[in-house]
């Protein structure tokens, strides 16, 4: 019933604000519709303003409900086990934490902002290097059967390896924690870009390649005018998957390597038994990951030729 009353108010407010000429009779009619709960939905669909309100509602309500449900479950679990801080306690802690995100007390005690930025820097480096190597490799593998068959066993062998299994190798070779973390990001982010790019290149329609053959285009022109534009959407899918993986892996890698970063921060707070901060970190990791993904979706849309 509350749902209906919200809609009724908004319809009326919209109608007034839009300066729509609504006769008293029509207004009464609308009210009659809204009151008669059984016909509300069908009648509203005939009403333009009501429809907008309804679609907005349909759009915003389910996600809100989902978040609410999560908070309720969380609250009830924390009620049962007092070790787990509840939503309210975590919220207060978060407000406190974000009051001064960029303080520096000591190399091991820096604000949350610095931790996030440092993690992002590692991800950017590892992911950037992976793109720099992976995308051209994808093109070569997709374009030439020989290289595709050459790379196939290597890719199928190395791709399923858990990212953290690469960490000792990185530590051994680079003899430092930070490059080793970047190395882990690199090696785990490179596969989706290689695979998606090469799949895109190998799917270029034969028609386009026939055009290239008839026009006698150079390999460079084929790359820039046909392969690259056609492959771009596939490539962007690879990039998106890669950045997801990179952000997924950084937390685990930093837990092991230490230094300033969100992963190490989680571990540090666990040692301090500051569970609120761990929960906050989970949310931060989720939100930053979501934002990275959304930015890439925007870029992908910008470059799509369709």
């Amino acid at each position: 019933m509350s749902v209906i009353s919200i809609n009724k108010e908004s319809i009326n407010s919209i109608m007034k604000s839009e300066k729509t000429i609504v006769t008293k009779v029509q207004e009464n009619k609308i009210e009659a519709f809204v009151d008669a709960a059984s016909v509300v939905i069908t009648e509203k669909k005939e009403n333009k303003f009501g429809k907008h309100v309804l679609t907005f509602f349909e759009w915003i309500f389910p996600p809100l409900l989902g978040v609410l449900l999560l908070i309720v479950i969380w609250a009830s679990i924390s009620y049962q086990s007092p070790n787990l801080p509840g939503p309210l306690k975590t919220w207060h802690s978060a407000v406190e934490l974000f009051r001064n995100p960029f303080y520096v007390n000591s190399p091991n005690d820096m604000g949350i902002g610095w931790n996030i930025l440092n993690s992002l820097k590692r991800v950017a480096l590892g992911f950037g290097l992976a793109a720099l190597v992976g995308i051209p490799m994808g093109f070569i593998i997709g374009r030439f059967q020989f290289f595709s068959r050459m790379a196939a066993p290597i890719i199928s062998l190395l791709r399923p390896v858990s990212p953290l299994a690469w960490l000792p190798i990185g530590l051994l070779v680079f003899k430092a924690a930070n490059p080793a973390a970047i190395w882990v990001i690199f090696i785990s982010a490179i596969w989706p870009m290689i695979i998606n790019t090469s799949v895109g290149v190998s799917k270029v329609p034969q028609d386009y390649m026939n055009v290239a053959r008839v026009l006698n285009l150079s390999e460079w022109k084929i790359l820039t005018k046909i392969l690259f534009p056609y492959t771009l959407p596939y490539m962007m899918t690879g990039v998106r998957l890669s950045i997801g993986v990179a952000w997924l892996v950084i937390v685990a890698a930093e837990m092991l390597t230490g230094g300033v970063g969100i992963g190490f921060w989680v571990w540090d707070e666990w040692n301090n038994l500051n569970v609120e901060h761990i929960i906050i970190a989970i949310f931060i990791v989720g939100i930053v990951g979501l934002m990275l993904e959304q930015v890439l979706i925007l870029i992908a849309k910008r470059f799509s030729y369709e």
């Binding site: 028609d207 026939n210 053959r213």
Partner: protein
Amino acid sequence: MGKAISEKVLQEKYVQLENVNMSFVTKKGTFDALSNINFSIKESEFISIIGHSGCGKSTVLNLIAGLLEPTSGYLFCAGREIAKPGPERAVVFQNHSLLPWLTCFDNVYLAVERVFDSETKVQLEGRTSAALDMVGLSHASDKRPNEISGGMKQRVGIARALAMEPKVLLLDEPFGALDALTRANLQDELMKIMAKTHCTAVMVTHDVDEAVLLSDRIVMMTNGPSAEIGDILNVDLPKPRNRLELAENQDYNHLRSEVLRFLYERHAKKVA
């Protein structure tokens, strides 16, 4: 003297197919598509290849284009063996095959740029504009292929092929995907363009009217597998041709029924 003779021979046999056989290797074994194809095309001649679907007429075109290599036999164009595709044998593809991320102008420019690589940018742009102008599409040069109609796309395809100033224009069912009215318009335009450029052309079609209207000779193919040339029909109707006048013309109707008889009596396709 000898040179004059060889030039004359070359004009008579501008494009030549000698004992061409073509088989494809499939999962079920080899499939013989063409068997023993022999014919030659004169310079500036318009040839249509007609036959039921699956008879290998597009294969003939792809062989001349150099997109396929014959299993045995030889193909020549202007006295040289056809080894690979090249811009002197431009193809108008059935599904236009324009690059969707390039504008109409850039699609044509891509072809022009490669063929006339010694020219300046201004000259190349001039050629591109002229080609688009010839097919009446100057106004759409900045549009992308998905922003224009099917008929317009095919015009761009024709402009792209003609801009390369090919020795032979190869048309693979160029109007097959268009509605009847658009098709008639484009046929008329193609006739005008061919009269202007005197280009040698080979067109694959399954449209009897189109074949008779446009061609100097019609190559009629038997059904596959192992399709061969069933008959070659001379279309000695005077040019320029007008579709309305031809509708009343006895010769035209005779030629038309000749092709129809070949397709539906002598080599009717069994209903699958």
